[in-house]
């Protein structure tokens, strides 16, 4: 325990700053020199012999003076070391800023790479998706022909105002379609009439053509134009002239808005 305490004391004494030791020694020198001078002055005035006290003070003074000189030497050397430490601290600061700069650049590079990798992955997903749902080019061209053949994207060259043709299915065409005819099936069977719209439109689906006597009759009369079973064909307007007349006639009775828009 004592050894540990001595070690601690020694360590504490050793760790005392040089400045503190210097000031303490200087104070001792001041006090001792004052005492010595006062003692000498007193002994001269009173002419009393001193038992050697002045010698003790003198010895102490010499010792303190020597200590002071050694401490000043140490302080000068510490000053030189301090300069070296300042230079090293500057170098450390410079290295720190270099490392920070490098960190920033690496971070930027990481961000750029991460973005590029993400985009590449997304592209690969799209490619895989497209590959799975691939369609032959012939089919796409076929559909393109179909769409353009029905004049859905551009009016026919000979279209004039008054032409009942539209780029969308008209009321007449919808009613003459499969759904329209299915809902009217029972009614048609009773009275044997199709709605005039379907007749006027002239676009009856194949499925209904053989089923009703009036249909076949219409076909035989030549009122009905050839059905567009041909995917690429569209009947020229001349063939539908009779239908146009019917449309004109029917449009006066029906509430179709297609002819109104003429």
């Amino acid at each position: 325990m004592r050894k540990r305490g001595e070690t601690v004391m020694a360590a504490a004494a050793a760790e005392k700053p040089t400045k503190e030791k210097l000031l303490s020694t200087l104070d001792d020198i001041e006090v001792l020199s004052r005492e010595l001078i006062e003692m000498l002055a007193l002994s001269r005035t009173q002419k009393l012999p001193q038992p050697g006290e002045d010698t003790d003070i003198l010895e102490l003074l010499v010792q303190r003076d020597k200590e002071f000189q050694e401490l000043m030497q140490t302080a000068v050397e510490q000053g030189k070391v301090h300069q070296e430490m300042q230079a090293l601290e500057k170098e450390v600061e410079k290295r720190d800023s270099d490392i920070q700069q490098l960190q920033k650049q690496l971070k930027e590079a990481e961000h750029i790479l991460a973005t590029a990798v993400y985009q590449a992955k997304e592209k690969l997903k799209s490619i895989e998706k497209a590959r799975k749902g691939s369609i032959s080019s012939e089919e796409i061209i076929k559909y393109a022909h179909r769409i353009s053949a029905s004049n859905a994207v551009c009016a026919p060259l000979n279209w004039v105002p008054g032409d009942p043709r539209r780029p969308y299915p008209t009321d007449l065409e919808m009613r003459s379609g499969i759904l329209g005819n299915m809902s009217n099936m029972s009614t048609n069977g009773v009275n044997g009439h199709l709605p005039g719209d379907a007749l006027a439109a002239g676009r009856l689906p194949d499925i209904l053509t053989p089923q009703y006597p009036w249909q076949s009759a219409d076909v035989s009369m030549g009122i009905l134009p050839p059905h567009h079973g041909n995917d690429f064909g569209l009947e020229p307007p001349g063939h539908n002239k009779e239908n146009e007349d019917d449309v004109e006639a029917m449009s006066t009775d029906s509430s179709s808005s297609s002819s109104d828009s003429d």
Partner: protein
């Protein structure tokens, strides 16, 4: 020899004994310069205090200062090695944003 003389002179600069000796000599001779010498002593002590306050690097003990110096040297060495390691990696040319 010159350096030894310089060291001795430097040691005498910080010594108070010569001035104390002058004071005692004046007292022995009953010289009127006693007060002047005493003032010199006081001035020298005061100057020494001011010099001590202005000296850099003496706020710590020599042992502590040595250990801090060692630490700083190690820091510089480590950071130099780190920078060297990073610089030897593959660097990218990052285009500056226009």
């Amino acid at each position: 020899m010159a350096s030894a003389v310089a060291v001795v002179e430097e040691a005498e600069d910080y010594s108070f004994l010569p001035i104390i000796h002058d004071v005692i000599k004046c007292m022995d001779k009953d010289s009127p310069d006693v007060h002047q010498e005493l003032n010199k002593l006081k001035t020298k002590i005061q100057e020494a205090r001011e010099q001590i306050a202005a000296m850099p690097g003496i706020d710590m003990s020599p042992a502590l200062q040595e250990s801090r110096l060692r630490t700083l040297r190690e820091q510089v060495q480590t950071k130099n090695q780190l920078l060297q390691k990073y610089k030897s990696l593959c660097m990218f040319d990052i285009p500056k944003p226009s």
